[in-house]
Every structure is written in C-alpha cells, then in structure tokens.
C-alpha cells in the first residue's frame, strides 16, 4: 500500500470519529446547560476547551455564548474540529484513498457528507438540536457498519482502525479532563446533586450511562466513572479499550509486513503502564496530570506511526 494511502485512511477515520465525538461533546454541553441552576454559559467554555478550539472561538467570537458555541462546533468551516469540517475532511481523504475502499464504504462516507452538508447548511435551532446530533451519530455508525461488513481484514483495515482508536482515546481523555479540571467544582460541591448530574452527563456523552449502571448496580461515583472510562476494557470508548485496539491493529501490521517499528514499542509501553496503574493511583497523583501525560503519549504515538509507515515520505 502507498504510504500516502495509509495516511489517508488513518486521517479519514480520525476525522469520522472526530465528527461523532464533537457531536457528543455538544450533546454533553447542551445537557449540562439544561441542568444548570444559574443559567450561565460556563459549560460551553469547557466544551470548547475539550475540543481544543477555545482560543479559535474567542478570536472569532469573543464572549462565549451557547448558541454561538454550538454553531461553532457544528458548522464553522474555520474550526478544524467542527462536525462539518471533520466530515468534509473525512470525505476528502476518502476520495484520496478511493482505491482502497469498497464501494459500500465510499458510498456511506459520501452519503454522510451529503446529508450532513445539507443538515448543517443553516444554523441549527435549539429544538432541532437533539435530532441533528442523532443524525450525526447515525451517519458515523453507517460508515462503521460498511467498514466492518465489506472490507478485507488487511493493512487497509488496520490503518482505518488505528486512526479511529487514536482519535477516540484522545477524545475520551479530553472529556474526562473537562469534568475534572475545567468543571472542577469547589470542594463543597463534590458529591452534591449538581456534581452527580454532571458526571452522568459525561457518561451520557460517551454513550456509557446505561452500561455503567448495569456494571455498578446503579451506584455512581466520580471515582467509579473515571475507573470505567479509563480502565474498563469492556467499554468501547474507554482509554484502555482504545489503546488495546491500537496495539492489536499495529500487531496485525507486524504480522502482515513482518517488520516491527518504534511505534510498536511505544504502544506496548503505554499499555503496560495502563495495566499497572489503578484508579486510586490516578487520583493520588492527580487526574489532570494523568490525562495530560496520556494525551502527550497518544500524540507522540500518532507521529511515530506516521513516520514508521511513511505517510508523508
């Protein structure tokens, strides 16, 4: 496979995952806003920070307002992580790697792009927001379904999956960080009903609230939720699940190509560390510090994969 094609697949699936995750973030922000007693728009600043676009937003719009933030996250072409930009970039990459995709996958991406482009052609009214967000998630699921149902399990598939899980690990980590660092309530609020509502919202934003309840018999606690989102290998959006998937697909490449690269050592080190760490250790050393380190590792891993598989030359 061409290095460029591997890179195109990797980014196509990163962007697809990102479009879904941005929609989930908007949903989380929207929910928090609905349950907030004081009616301020503070949560949107944290949502923008989670998506790493707060600076861009402020430069373009100044004061954070709910409606502007939602528009910025969903539709702004100047925002590289907006749903519209992400799905356009995903499709652009899909065109680039057209020869590596089945007709079904290509059509699913192209359909998603056409549908979302139309859905997001105008600002979304608040009352339509839940439906629009659902559409975005559904489109993402369609592409994933086409990928699973029609693609050969070879290096093409591996690069698609590596992109997906790298992006997902990055996103789940950021979502956790928002809650614990940015939304960090004053000590008196910990354990309050507001605090719990916000944690619930975090779970909801990763589609994990019901799974969590099943596992924890309905009891929810911040430590329990962090444990779930970081360490539970059964939860498909947890950090551990994502990094173990990256390892699996990177190892398939070792099998197919017969070559190990520095990126394989990096992912092994990262997984070994996750294996040794407990949620108690994380909270002792600070969740924010843990996540900052994790994000740096993920970013380094992405760059190493790019180099090892010659995405750019």
């Amino acid at each position: 496979m061409l290095g460029k094609t591997a890179g195109g697949l990797f980014w196509m699936f990163r962007y697809l995952e990102r479009s879904e995750n941005t929609a989930r973030l908007v949903e989380a922000g929207f929910r928090i806003g609905l349950t907030r007693p004081d009616g301020s728009d503070d949560e949107w600043l944290s949502v923008l920070q989670t998506a790493s676009v707060a600076g861009l937003y402020t430069a373009a719009h100044g004061e954070v307002e709910a409606s502007k933030a939602i528009d910025f996250l969903l539709r702004d072409v100047g925002n590289p992580s907006s749903v519209l930009t992400a799905i356009s970039s995903a499709r652009q990459n899909a065109r680039l790697v057209r020869t590596a995709l089945t007709r079904e996958v290509w059509e699913a991406v192209n359909d998603s792009y056409m549908i979302l482009k139309q859905t997001l052609a105008r600002p979304v009214r608040t009352r339509d927001l839940p439906e629009v967000l659902a559409t975005i998630r559904q489109q993402s699921a369609l592409v994933r379904g086409a990928l699973h149902g029609t693609m050969l399990r070879n290096d093409v598939f591996d690069f698609a999956r590596i992109g997906t899980f790298l992006e997902r690990a990055d996103n789940t980590a950021r979502i956790l960080d928002v809650k614990y660092y940015v939304l960090l309530p004053s000590l008196s609020q910990i354990g309050s009903s507001l605090d719990n509502v916000q944690w619930e919202t975090i779970l909801r934003s990763v589609a994990g609230q019901r799974a969590y309840r099943w596992i924890n018999q309905g009891e929810s606690s911040p430590v329990g939720i962090a444990d779930f989102l970081i360490f539970d290998g059964r939860m498909p959006r947890s950090l551990k699940f994502s990094t173990s998937k990256i390892a699996t697909n990177l190892n398939y490449l070792v099998g197919e190509y017969g070559e190990r690269h520095p990126c394989h050592d990096q992912i092994d080190v990262l997984n070994a560390r996750l294996e040794k760490t407990t949620v108690e250790n994380v909270f002792e050393d600070g969740l924010h510090e843990f996540i900052t380190d994790f994000l740096a590792d993920i970013s380094r891993l992405g760059a190493q994969i790019e180099q090892d598989y010659r995405f750019l030359g």
């Binding site: 061409l2 460029k4 057209r98 007709r103």
Partner: protein, 474 residues
C-alpha cells in the same frame, strides 16, 4: 417527437418508423409509462451523485464537483455499422503509431513530401527528447479515443484523434452500470455487447508493454491529484484494474527504476499509466516548476527502466493541424485509402484557406490548433456579430493557430425531456487499447450529447451530457 429533417436522426432515420437497430427499444419505450421513466431519470442522477461520478470544473467559483448529466435513452449501433467502424478505427490507430515512430526516427513522411517539415519541427507537441527513442513494445499510444460524428446513414467522420490522455472511459462504464441497474429487462430482451471488461483489458494491454529492465509487471496510474477534473476517472481505473493510484509526490527514482513510497518502503513500477500532461511529467526535462511529475523519469524511461503510457510526445499525432493530413498519413503507412473520412479542414496558416475562412466565417467552425474541451472555438452559425468580429481579429493576428471546418449536420439521437422524446446532437468516442499483440476496441464508447436544443457542442464543460452506447450482437 418532432423531427428536424435537416439532420439525420439515428432512431427515426427518415421519419418512416424507427431504424432497425432501434426497433426493439422503440417497442419497449412506447409500452412504458413516461412518468415512470422520468422518475428513473432522477434516480439515475441520485445514483451518480452517491457513487461520486463527478468532475471538477476549472475556473468554477465553487470548488464543488459537478455531475455530467446522463440521459436514459441509449444510443444504439448495429453490428454491421460497428464492424465497419472498427476496421476504420484500427487502420487509423495503426497509422498513428507508425507515424509517431517515423517522425521520431527517420521522418520518411517528411522526406516523401507528404507532411511539411515545419509542421513537425515547429510544433510544441513535438518532443525532441523522444527522437531516436523506441518505446517498449513499439507502442506510442496505448490508449486512444477517436471522436466520431455522423451525418447520415453511412456517413461517419473522424472529428479528432485523442492520442495523449483521452478521458471519459469511466463514464462509458458507469453509464452501462446505471442502465443495467435501472432497466435490467432491456438487457435480457436485447442482446448488447459488453463493455465491462475494459479495465481488465487495459491492465493486460499495459502489462504487455513492460520495459526491457522490468522485474515484474507492476502497473500504476499517475494522477495530478484530487483536484484534477478527471480525478474520479483516475481513481476508478486504478481501482478497477487493482493497481495503485499514485501522485508525483509518491514517486522517486530508486536504483534506475521509478518507485512508489509504500508503507514498506519503495516499490518499483514497471508501467505507468500517466494522466499527467507531457509538460508536467518531469521537472528536470520539461516544465521545471511542475510539482505533478517525477524528476528524472525521462532518463529512467530512455534507459528502459519504465514504460510510460501514453508515450511522451504522442500529442503531435492529435494536433489539429496534423489532423488535416491524416488521410495522407493513413495512406502513407498502411498503403490503403483511409476507411474513415476526415472532416474537410482549412489550415488557416495557408493564405488561400485563410481568405476562404474569413469570407465564410459565419458558416464555419473554427478551432484552436492546440485547443481541447470545446474551449476557444467558434461555431459560426451560432455566433453573434460581435463574436464573429472578435474571432476575425484573432484569426488575422495568428492564422497558424487555427483550423476551420464546415459546420457539420451532426446526427441526432432522442433524449428524454419534460415533453417526451426530443432530438439532440451527438458524437461518439470509442476507446482503443494498443499493445504489441493486438488492437482492442471496446464495443461502443462514450456518446456525448448536446442537451440544449439545436446546440452542436457536446463537451461536458459546455453543457453536454452522456448516454449509454449499445452495440448490438450480430
């Protein structure tokens, strides 16, 4: 359908019922509900958009891709008509290859006084780098598109030869695919020759032209990139041949071969089907600013390390000034009269011809010698006084840059409109594959149709559409 008797209609002929090739289709059509057919027509458009069969328009303000309109009424050619056409096409393509070999070697045709030396030596499409170079397998034009027009029952003319990088074959294939999906019953009742093996034939044909230093038979398609107007086609062909689609940035010279950067290091390519123009192919040998090509590819080519399809320098054969000599060229190399007629052509570089063209401008079609895609041409009968005056000035300033032809009474084939069937002018581009062993012509080709009533310009960049083209089994 109302018929304009000044034009030959391929479905209705002289007006006394459908011509024989269309009999079955005509019967089917009249048993169909026209509203259903219109609905099918919309479905076809959605199908094309989903599949991403689009082209990018140069100079369009929005960067979005457009669809080439597709008409659901097929253009039908009988087995007898097709046999005659293929003989003519094969003869012409052999002559073009012989001509290319000759002008890059001994130039017998110039010595014999059949083609003026100036026309070659002063032609931008003539590549001195190709002099004395024999391409692998002796093939210059691996892929050729011969544009044909028709004016009557037995009157076919070659409008132009496309010997550089003819495009449109993906539309031929997708048009058929669309028709098969929409009207499967037609294909069981009418026996139509298949076109779907074109990508396999292309791969086989390219594979038969490996260079002397080939290590294997690795084929790749070189595209200028995702923003090129024909990107869809480049990706389509690579995909259907099962070969890599590469850009200049993926390639470099490694150990005397052109190699592509893969996830496992550089891999040598033996045959490169390039969809990049000569000028951009090699910044070391041609346009130094080109980012689209591969530095040093010409040196590898000359050393026998790679086959470039089509060979560099083939553009000299589809130059419109050369075109006017094609009947002589065919006769010179094949020893036979040309089976397919040329359209009478005035070379404006010749004073007598120029005078005639200027006197009859409003009846003629004037084309730029190096133009393509319907850009920069004048259709006299359709032009305003102002346009005629402007063109007159251009002709006087650079007569050698133009040729003129009579306005042909192009045949019509019906399209489906809001008011039912209506005749529209068409042309035909059959696709020809040349390998050392054989010349393979896909039955049919791409029928382009001018969708605007009365229009004679079929180019997609100028509002043209396409039709599925059927060649009937014997």
């Amino acid at each position: 359908m109302t018929q304009d008797l000044n034009f030959f209609d391929e479905m209705l002929g002289n007006g006394d019922g459908p011509r024989p090739p269309y009999t079955s289709y005509d019967g089917w059509f009249h048993a169909e509900d026209i509203r259903e057919l219109r609905k099918k027509s919309l479905e076809a458009e959605a199908f094309f958009r989903r599949t991403g069969i689009t082209f990018n328009v140069y100079g369009a303000s929005d960067a979005d891709e457009r669809l080439i309109p597709f008409d659901i009424v097929p253009r039908i050619i009988s087995a007898r008509e097709w046999t005659r056409l293929t003989k003519g096409i094969e003869q012409r393509v052999r002559a073009i290859n012989a001509f290319l070999y000759d002008i890059y070697h001994r130039q017998e045709i110039i010595r014999a006084g059949r083609v003026p030396a100036d026309l070659i030596s002063r032609n931008d499409a003539f590549l001195p780098q190709m002099i004395g170079m024999a391409p692998p397998g002796g093939v210059y034009t691996h892929i050729v598109g011969i544009d044909l027009v028709r004016t009557g029952e037995d009157d076919f003319f070659v409008l132009e030869d496309n010997a550089r990088t003819p495009s449109g074959v993906s539309y031929m294939l997708e048009n058929r695919e669309t028709m098969l999906q929409m009207f499967p019953e037609l294909f069981s009742s009418i026996k139509i020759r298949q076109v779907s093996d074109y990508p396999l034939n292309l791969r086989r044909s390219l594979g038969a032209c490996v260079p002397p230093n080939a290590e294997g038979c690795t084929v790749a398609v070189l595209t200028p990139g995702i923003h090129n107007s024909a990107y869809f086609e480049h990706a389509f062909l690579a995909d259907h041949m099962g070969v890599e689609l590469v850009e200049g940035g993926d390639l470099r010279v490694v150990d005397g071969k052109i190699a592509m950067r893969t996830t496992r290091g550089y891999k040598a390519i033996d045959v490169l089907y390039r969809r990049v123009d000569d000028d951009y192919l090699d910044p070391l040998n041609f346009n130094a600013d080109s980012m689209l090509g591969v530095p040093g590819i010409m040196d590898v080519y000359r050393a026998g390390g790679i086959t470039i399809a089509n060979a560099p320098g083939t553009g000299i054969a589809d130059d419109k000034a050369i075109y006017s000599y094609m009947p002589d060229i065919v006769e010179f190399y094949t020893g036979e009269k040309a089976i397919l007629q040329n359209v009478p052509t005035w070379r404006c570089s010749e004073p007598d011809a120029l005078a005639y063209v200027l006197d009859n401008l409003s009846d003629l079609v004037v084309k730029e010698v190096h133009g393509s895609g319907g850009y920069g041409m004048l259709v006299g009968p359709a032009a305003s006084k102002k346009e005629l005056a402007a063109f007159r000035a251009k002709l006087l300033a650079r007569p050698g840059n133009y040729i003129a032809q009579p306005t042909l009474a192009l045949s019509t084939v019906p399209i489906l409109t809001q008011k039912g069937l209506a005749p529209r002018h068409v042309d035909l581009r059959p696709f020809v594959l040349v390998s050392p062993n054989e010349i393979n012509i896909t039955p049919g080709g791409l029928t382009r149709v001018a969708l605007k009533k009365g229009s004679l310009v079929v180019n997609s960049s100028q509002g043209g559409g396409t039709k599925d083209t059927w060649v009937l089994e014997e």
